[in-house]
Symmetry: C2
DNA sequence: TGGTTTTTAATACTCAATATCAATTTCTGG
DNA sequence: CCAGAAATTGATATTGAGTATTAAAAACCA
């Protein structure tokens, strides 16, 4: 738990700056969220319901969106659902996704990022964020 | 209309290979689809309903997904809806998207594609497809 | 601690997309 | 060209993710 002090500080800082309050639910949701790489709201709902049967699904959604605002999470549409990625402890990265088994590998590549800036500048854009997803077959699924 | 012979051939080829049938609805939906860059199913439904009041919304969805299978269209989640991009007449490309006005600029960059292959190979993946979206402010919205 | 403000939980609701299924259309092979 | 098998359509019901509502509860601040 002590490892997560930094992330809780980030949350508190964000709450303080936006006249928001620290609640038991927000603490619990963050504690669970930090244990995962990426989750859906439904998945968190099922997990949290075991210990806290009265937790509301809407609260999960609200809180995960709050985490996005605070920079702790990042939403990503995958299929019909929204995956919330834990980005609190890592730098920006992109995804390699296996179309057969669903395996996800994270990567980052400065050279690609630099070229993105180049492309954007050529069209007069200023990049705020980006999404790069490579879909294919992982080594196991190629056989 | 003669310009679209190639796309109709692609559709017929796909239908033939999958024991599917060529119907009046599929022809009409393709004819309209080829006139656009990107549409939603709802938007097509409203357009087609004017001439063909009995067209079913489910048919639009089914057919657009069929176009995706045939390689004529490509689905893209944007906000709450799914945009179907017309990719029949163009090479693969990626998107620059303005987060303020929604303007979309298409681009392609061989250098980025090459680096993607490199990254994938490093992780043992074989790429089937990819999605790269750069979000930011267009020149007009920067002011 | 009391009072103001925010948050929660339960539920209703919205809306995109899919499932169902009887009636219709397309295609195939004789 | 026609009949029968197979696929498709259209109308509607249903699903399911995510949001809106609101009374009650919790958090915060002086």
């Amino acid at each position: 738990m002590s490892r997560n002090l930094k992330e809780f500080a980030v949350l508190k800082d964000h709450l303080g700056k936006h006249q928001l309050k620290l609640t038991r639910q927000r603490e619990r949701i963050l504690a669970l969220f930090l244990k995962t790489e990426h989750v859906t709201a439904e998945h968190m709902y099922r997990s949290l319901s075991k210990r806290d049967p009265h937790i509301g699904l809407a609260t999960i959604y609200r809180t995960l969106n709050l985490f996005c605002d605070a920079g702790l999470a990042q939403a990503r549409h995958f299929g019909a659902q929204t995956q919330y990625d834990n980005v609190s402890h890592k730098r920006h990265h992109d995804h390699l996704i296996c179309t057969t088994c669903g395996k996800i590998v994270e990567f980052e590549n400065c050279e690609i990022e630099r070229l993105q800036e180049e492309v954007a500048a050529k069209h007069g854009f200023v990049i705020q964020t980006h999404k790069l997803e490579l879909y294919g077959l992982c080594s196991r699924c190629q056989r």
